[in-house]
Structures are given as C-alpha cells and as structure tokens.
Symmetry: D2
Subunit: 351 residues, 4 copies
C-alpha cells in the first residue's frame, strides 16, 4: 500500500485504523499566511461524526481536532499541517466473533488476499473511520477555497429508493439525512429507522455542487477535472459510481439535446455538469455518486471463514443503517481537495 | 497542462493534436524480455481507426504503428518504447468556418479560458485523435497482461436508447457497433444511420469486463483499483459517468440484497463488480461508462464567438454520429494500463 | 511547500517544527508481515539524539518512539505506519532575542522570502529537529533491508580538518564523533571541545557504505541510484556536497586509471563507488558528503534585521559545535530509504 | 525502468537509444503563449553535438530539431511539445567486437544485471546520445527562464588536472573546451589531444552559475533546491559528484568563516552557493560537478565476457577523449529544467 497520499500540489497523507490509537493527516502545500483554527476544522468533523441522530451509528468518535504543526500565531506558515484525532471508543472485543469469518460486502477477504495478514479488529484501514482524516484535511482546502469565492455543498438526493422532488438548500443541514427536500427527508428517516429495526440497511445517491469555480481548471489529457473528481469519489469506500451533469442519461440523448448552447449571457443549459474537455467552464460543477447500502447488517448471511468453511454470519455492532448523511461531508471534503489542487496546478502552469 | 502522463510504475506519456505532424506515446516501465511487434499493436489501432464502417467517420487516419525505441531483436529491453503515428489526412481548411466561434459541447471555450490561446484547427489537443496514442500504449499493457492470463473486453451495451438483451461475446467484433447482442446491433446501426442523415448524433453505454485478475490488486486508501479505473475512464473525452457492479442501482438495494455472500465455491453474486474496499476479489471486474452523444453535429445550434457575439453554428466535417464503436478499444486500452500498473504496484509492495 | 514526502513505492511523509507539539512520520508502502517493534526504532533515535556526549548539544529531545498505526500483533499490516515523537524541551523564550534578525547560515532569511511569514521560535521547519522523523522512518527501511542482507553504515571520515587514517569499523560507535579511526577521533573531540569553548563550530566529511546490495538497482535515465542518493543527501540541511567512489578525484584521473576492470573473481577496483550507469554493480556503494560547520555560533557576526537594519548577532543556545556525529544516523536513514525504495521499483519492473 | 520523466510541474519525458531510429522528448507543463521556434532549440543542440572541434568525437549526430506538437503559429499552446531528433549516423557494425564483453566503466554489466537483456549496439539507453533529448527539453525551460530574467551558464573549470586561474565569461564559447580561462584552455586542449593520441581519456570539473533567481525558490524538506539540482546532475551519466558554494571545502572551515553575513547591501560572501535551507537567497546559485574520464578508451583493459571468461578489451570507436566541453550544455539544460520547475512549484504554493 502506497496509496495514502492524495493530490499533487495540495496534498494530504493519512494514516490510521478503526482500532488504533489515532487517525491523522499531514496536509502539504498549504498557502502561507492564511488564518485557520481548530474550531473551523472541528465544525466539519462534527458533521461527519457518528451519533448525530437516530439514523446514525451510536458509536462515539469524539474526533477532537488537534493541530500539531504548520500554524503559528493563528496563521498557516506554509509548512505541513498535522492534524491528529485520538481514538477513544475502541471496543475490539465487540468484533471478536467475526475474527475468522469474511463479512459479506466488507474488505475482509480482499485485504487478506492482498496483504496475507489482517487486522481483524473492525475493518482496520478499510474502516470508514479513515474518512475522518479526509474531512480534517478537506477543511483546510475548504478554507483556501473560501478565499477564492468557491463554495462546495453536497446532500442526499435519494435514499432507500425515495427521491427528493425539490431542492431546498436551507433544508439540508436541518434534517438528519441531509436531504435537499424536507418532505422526502421524513420518508427517508422512517425508511432508515424501519431498516435499522430489522437489522438491514440501504444506500442512496448524493449530489455535489461546486459553485464559483473559475473557468479554466483541469489538466487535460489524463488529469482532467472530472477524472480527478471521479478518482477522489471512488476512493471513498461505499461509493460505486459517479456521473457528471446529465451523466448516464446522456447516453440516451441526442447531440442536439445534450450540447450546451451559449448566448451572450452564458450557457443555455448545463448537461455537461460544468466541465468540458476536462476543464471547468465556469458553470456549477455538478455530479452525483451512488452510495451502496451499508455492508454491516445483522440479517444472517452466508459466508466462509479463513479456513474456507461455510458459515452464517451476522454483523453485530454499532453501524449506520444508511451512510448517506455522514458521507455528505466526506464527498465535500474530497471535492474541496481536488478543486484547490487544481487551482494550484493552474497557477503553476501560468506562473 | 502537465497531465499528459498516466500511471505510476507502468506509465504512458502522450503528445499530439488533431492537425499536427504526428501523435505518439512513450511507454515507460515495460517488463524486459517480452516479445512484441508492430503488428500486435496495429491490430488494436485498426479497431479504433475511423472509416471502419458506415457508422464511423470517413476521415482517414492511417495510424501506421512505428516503434522507434525500446525493442531489440523483437523483445522489449526495459527501456522506454516510443510509438509514433504520423498524421496524413489533416485538412485544417475544413475547420476555417469555426475558427472564431465556440462549438457547443466542444472544449473550444474551456481551452481558450485555460490557456488564453487556442489551436483552432479542429479540436487541437482536445480532439479524439489523442486517443490513438492511448490505444498504442494500451496494447503494450495488454501484451503484458496476456502473460498473466488477464483478458480485457469492452462492448456497446446500449446505443441511442437501444439496449442489448443478450450477451454474445462472439458477436461483438462481428457488428459495426461492437454490441454484445447481434439483434440489437442491427437496430442500433439503423438508428445511427438515421441520425447521420439528419446531422444529429447519439450516445450510449459501454461495458467493460476484466477477467482473470488475481485477488489483491488495488492500493487503498486513495489509489483504490476502482478509483484508478474511474480516473482512467473519465479522462476519455466523451465519457460522463462510470459505475461498478450494481453501480447506481445499488442506491436502491438493501444491504441484504447487495452484499455478495460466499460459499466454499466462491462468491454467490457480483454486485460489487469484482472490487471490495478498492481491492480486486478475483471475480470479473465489471464496470459501465456513459458515453455522451457526439458534440459535432450539423444541426444548427446557438453559440457565441470569441468576441461574445451570438451566432448560429453547424459543425460540418467528418464526424462519428456515435462514438461508442470506436471508444470500445480506448476503454479497453485504459483498463489494460490501470490493471498492469496495479500488478506492478503490488509486486513493489511485496518485493 | 509540497516537498514533505520522499520516495516512490516506499515513502515517508513528515511534519513538525522545532517548537511544535510533536514531529512525526507516516511510512507508506511497507511490506506486510514483517516483525517490527518500537525498541528497534528507538535504537536509531538514540543514536541521533542530542546530549549523547560532550560534543553534542545538551538540549533534551527525549524522542520516545510511539507507533500509532500499521502494526498489529507485532507485525506490519501493509497499511501506513505512523510514528510520533512528542516534543518536551521546547524553550521558545531562549530564542526571543533573535526574533527579528536573520542568523547567518540559517534559513531565517530564505524562509521569510519564500513564505512571507516565519515561525521565529528556533528554526521552525528548517530545524535539524525535522531529521528525527527521517531517522524513525529510515529505521523501517533498515528493517526491510536487513531481510535482504543489506547493511548500511556511515561514519565521520574528517572533522575540523582532521582526517581518519585507518578504517576500524568496530571503533565507530565507540567514540563520541563516530569516526572510523579511534586515534583521529581523540583529536577531533579535542578540536570540537576547543571550538565549543570559544563559541565557534566546524564541519566535516561523512562517508557511507551500503553493503550487500544486489546488482541491478537504479532506474535510469533520471532516477539513477546515485541521483536519488544525491537528492536524499542534499535534502539534509547541513550537507553541501556529495561524491561517489573516486568522486572529485576522478576529475584528475585518466580513463585507464579510473575504469574498474574485471576478472573472473569480480571487479578489480571500485572507483565507481558501486554504481555504473546509475545502476548498482554489486560492489559496496560508497559515497561521501560534505557537512558544513554548524551555523549557530556565539562568535559575533554581522547581519540585518527584518527591517533591513544592520546589527551584530550572537546565536546563544544549546547547539552542536559539530553536527557530524549526529548526522551519521540521518545519512544512514536516508540511504536506507533510497535503497529499499529502489528494491521495490525493481520488483515492480520485473513483477 | 520508469525513470524517464523528470520534473513535477514542468516535466520532460525522453526516449531513445544510441542506435535507434530517433531520440525525442515530450515537454509538459509549458506556459502557453510563449514564442518559440526550432532555431532557438537548435542553437543549444549545436553546442552539444559531436564533431565541433579537434577535442570532440568525429561521430556525426546531425540532431536537426523538429517540433511536432504544442506550438501553433509560433507560440506555445500549453499542450505538450514533442521534439524529435532523427538518428542518421548509426553504425552498429562498429560495435560488433564488444558484443559479448563488458567494457570497463560502461553500463554493459549493470544493464544486463538489471534487465536480463542488453542492446549491445553501442551503449543503448545508457549512451550519452540520450542527453540530446535533455538539451532539447532544457531549451524550452531556458526560454521560459529568459522571460524571468534568469540566466544559466556552465563552463569547464578544470580538465585533466589543469585548473582555470581566471574567470573570463566571454572566453567560454570561444575555446574548444568551454573553459573560463583562455590560457588554461590551451593547455587543456593540448592535454586532451595528447591523450587522444595514446587512446586514453581524462575528466574534469564543470561549474555552473544560475543568475537572477528570485529568493524563495525550493521546496523543503525533501525537495530542496539543492537536492533537486543534485539529482538532476547525478542523473547525467559521467558525473560522479556535486558541491554547492564552498562545498567540500566547507568541511574544513569554521562556522565563523563559512556563515555568509549580511549588511544592508546584501550578503557579504557566498559560501552557501546561493541556497540556504534548500531555498534560494537571491545570490548566484553556484555549483560544481565532477566529470569522470570517458570510459571508452583504446588502451587495453582487463574484463570478462557474458560467459564470465577473462579477456582483454579495447574500445575502438569515435569517442570524446574528454566529455567536459559537450557536457556543459547538458549541465545547463538540467539546471534550467530544475529552476523553471521550482518557479512553477512556488507559483502553485502561492497561487
């Protein structure tokens, strides 16, 4: 594994497992002289933490942000920031029963195949716990983007088959599922609570909008803006697909429908999702990701153990029946990291 | 732009515009001592070239493969291969009329915003011509994967709203649209011919399967196998989305439905698309990409010119009314590049 | 600054300033299943720490090693190791007087020019304190190299103009200056003690030998083994030059003298320093680095302050009058990092 | 081998062997809108080519520059430049006799060890021929640096033990050895001609000065400006050492002598060679490299063949008895590449 660094000129490197002493992130390439404090980062951490509501895991990850380097007298110095999050609520014993069996949907089998060794306390490095470090690093990128007038929001657009019919931005942080439609949100919550009661789980679709991006960002040929965003999103464990603008619907459109015409006021539509030829065109960047249903369920499932013997398994623990509400800040964090990095790459080219 | 290199240990670097003297690729990190010849690469180039059938552009890109380095007495030496494809059928004059206007769906506007300068002969570096170099480089990766017993195939699964109902592998290279259903293929061809006759275009969905991959490939956290494949695919100009396994349908499934159980014979389903936690599990890797309708159409469209003046535009030229048949070998090439690189990264970790 | 990561397949990323809460290192790309413990790393840290003898700074850096991730039940898991070293003896007040003036030989001026902001408590990120994280990361590389039969040693060959006349390997860790000649060592110690008494400092030459390396390591053209070692060494603050084998003396030799002939038993000489064409030839890799005299001296020097006003400055503090003895383990650590990474790159090429 | 790319934001990727059809370079990350033509690059190529004088190889490498992409109407477009140099004077038969024996000082043995296969026509990829691509790529960097007011010169300071006593910049390009002292130059030429007559060779020391660099360039900790320059220089085949400013002499200086004091007019000396803490301080960047004597000599030497049998070898061919005059433009090219890249990295950090 040498895949724990993300970005080229604005970079994060993370470490940490579900049951280790801490998770953390080194943020490199930070613009110097920018005011930053722990409270700003903490705000994002709190949006990701479990135990926020009835629809999230009751597990406690205090996730108190500590900046250990790179900030002097309240400002970034240009040297790497290190942010550490000490783990507190590690209960390895809760996982004892699944020590030798491969949990369906989890990376237990693939990690063992890859490394020949596995930290069987929870999911080790494959745990969603790892995303805490992303959100901390992403908060630094978000701060830098604020100064550029760039704003990144994500929200649940569909959960358990229930779709949002309206887009009410003010509603997003007011409901437990971070849906953009407060009416649909109620149905989603009911659905999730029901699934939790029967030990099952569901997925959903999260949409993200990046607003205020200058035209001209993205590095063709291989490092297109949408290519980098796609990598960033698919690097999040539960995400199984991404589409930009019209996305998969574009496959059934005519060229004359899909092309975004222009008049002197700008573009007439945004089927491209704000990116053409891998470069931002100044419209909102819009993409959606598919979030799979949480793998940890207490419904009995068929599996094998490390000796190849068949057995039934139930994943008992403190899990989210739907990860969408908590994946929203992770999606935002990754989008912030990509966009800030792209601004810096553009500056390098012209500089 | 410093985004013309792809891969970490198996790398390609490409150059070339639609109307330059040549396009080419330097392939670095090649295993030494492997037999390779130009004919092997040429076969892949011929699958990508225009003018193959009634549904592709009549433009002539001869694309004759020349290996200029890295091979000695028929075997790779471990030093970089350089493959050059000389351009022959460059007709810049055909593009004169669109010199000052932004073609909808094209990167004319975004390139000008990014670079402040634009090669207005065709699409310059944003042209699909660029993918010729990818296919040449991908052929080397394909050769190395053959020795590992890995096989990569892609095919049109949907074109212009018409879906394949069956999967007949032998049919794929026998029909002009590279569809996996010979009956649907006929409808697709009719649809494309009709659209061509009225100057419009359509898109589709291409599916790719990577078979024979060992379990354990992929570098979590950020360089997951699916993340790298997503980047690779979204780096292809016309592709607007990707999904693995159940993909966007996973969003509406229950955990108990989506999880792939196991018995002593292996996995009971493949909703994950062969990748769990970013690591291959030994099943087929399966993903689908959304291909947008070709932007170049002769239907009149509304746009502006470089001075911001509104005007109508028709893109006259020799364009593919649907790019799916020719994007199939490009999808395969990029998948080959990712998978071979991942084998090498795995070897590095263990080595 | 986005230069805090070193290596390609075996990577370290470090953070930390002289007066921050901690310094640390994330080690990525670690071979899984290798036994490692904190004591093994601690041993290397103790060789680098100040206060070892009369010739090193009396400053106390306890540098107690804590592994916070990547090891499970005493073995590496393949996921990133994080090693943290908490700072204890931070006395910023001791630096108050030099807050506004540029210390000659220090990076005060250049950091301010680069970042427009400066952490004036000690040397911030430019402090030698940063090398503690290198030694911790290098210890992991050393462990992996041990399994390959590779051994890395460095030693002072010259200090303050006094040269070693003999090479006695057993003497190195037995004298306070880590010289390879126990007689010369005594003179060196006397010289350093004298310089310390008058507030001045001296430099020296450190030689490093890497033994047991297989032939074939190194990635020409740009990533030659000697090129990577040169980068690694010049990245250490106090080092101002490097030479391999005959090095600068080669400039005055004839080809017939310098070329290393071969007979059936192997090479007849080692003027090349074990690397030809950027690739190891199986002989010992031998290089020497020039270490400048410590910049912090209490002899009065002429400088300016941040307002451009001329002033005299004396650097009062707890500094090493000669850094050679403590740079030895840093040189070894960096050499270990390069060589292990090169083994992994070779494995990738062939794998 | 995946080491054929150099640079981060301004990058070159090269290919080509001594006896292939061509050598070439893809230059990525080029600032758009810059006027460039082939004649500008050709001028640098001509300084490197063989056959310039009595002291260089009579081999003919015409090295006519062809730009095949990335320039439109005389200006860079921001897309990659590809520069090709067709080989003309390939005489593999001249090398027949050394097909099976390892030439001392050459990479014959190490390449075979690394790759298990060897292109025995000349030195293959290990040939100095490869540096032609560097000079072509470096010319683009030089052009960009000109616009910044940065100027890079190198020259022979010592050849065959004969040192320059004066520094006469105007003399450099006026004598066949590119020495900075016209009197010493005559002795050097005589020495080289004598060695050529007896089939032997010599080395020398080349010094390089980078003038007009802004203070603040360089990316600590690992990507220090001197570290990157050291890697760049040691990546040139014949170079065996590098030192900055006082370099190896610093080892015998006192801190009070070596530290560069400041007054209100600037620095009082330049023992640091213009770089402190890995960051430029605005003074001239000054470094020297040690160039080994050319390995190809016709003096009989002892070696073995691929079967391990001892034999005598004479390298007959058209070789430079001293490579210093022709390495000067290569040193400059590599320095240009590093410095331009560092400007772009600085722009990224601040941008």
């Amino acid at each position: 594994m040498a895949g724990n660094t993300f970005g080229e000129r604005f970079k994060i490197t993370t470490y940490g497992e579900s049951h280790g002493a801490s998770v953390g992130v080194i943020v490199d390439g930070v613009t110097p002289g920018v005011e930053i404090d722990e409270a700003y980062i903490q705000k994002q951490m709190d949006r990701r933490k479990p135990g926020q509501s009835s629809v999230t895991s009751p597990r406690k990850e205090y996730d108190i942000v500590h900046i250990e380097s790179g900030v002097f007298e309240g400002k970034t110095t240009g040297t790497p920031l290190f942010i550490i999050l000490h783990n507190h609520d590690m209960r390895p014993e809760a996982y004892g029963s699944i020590q030798h069996a491969f949990r369906p949907g989890h990376a237990d089998f693939t990690y063992l195949q890859k490394y020949g060794i596995r930290d069987h306390r929870g999911s080790g490095r494959a745990s969603g716990r790892e995303t805490a470090a992303r959100v901390a690093g992403g908060a630094i990128a978000r701060k830098l983007l604020e100064r550029r007038g760039v704003d990144v929001i994500a929200y649940s657009q569909e959960i358990g088959g229930i779709r949002c019919d309206t887009f009410d931005e003010t509603a997003i942080e007011q409901n437990a599922v971070r849906a953009c439609d407060p009416v649909a949100a109620k149905d989603m919550i009911r659905k999730i609570e029901h699934l939790a009661s029967i030990g099952d789980s569901c997925g959903g679709i999260v949409e993200c909008r990046v607003r205020g991006v200058m035209p001209g960002l993205g590095e063709p040929v291989f490092d297109k803006l949408d290519a980098e965003l796609a990598k960033a999103m698919l690097s999040i464990g539960a995400i199984k697909g991404i589409e930009f603008g019209a996305g998969f619907e574009a496959a059934a459109m005519l060229g004359s429908e899909h092309n975004d015409g222009m008049n002197s006021s700008g573009f007439l539509s945004n089927h491209a999702g704000g990116i053409v030829g891998g470069i931002s065109n100044g419209q909102d960047i819009v993409f959606r990701v598919s979030v799979k249903p949480t793998s940890s369920i207490s419904v009995p499932q068929q599996t094998i153990n490390v000796d190849g013997e068949e057995q039934e398994i139930q994943t008992i623990g403190r899990h989210d029946p739907c990860i969408c509400p908590r994946i929203v800040p992770v999606v935002e964090a990754m989008a912030c990291l990509v966009v800030e990095d792209m601004y810096k790459r553009q500056a390098a080219m012209l500089g």
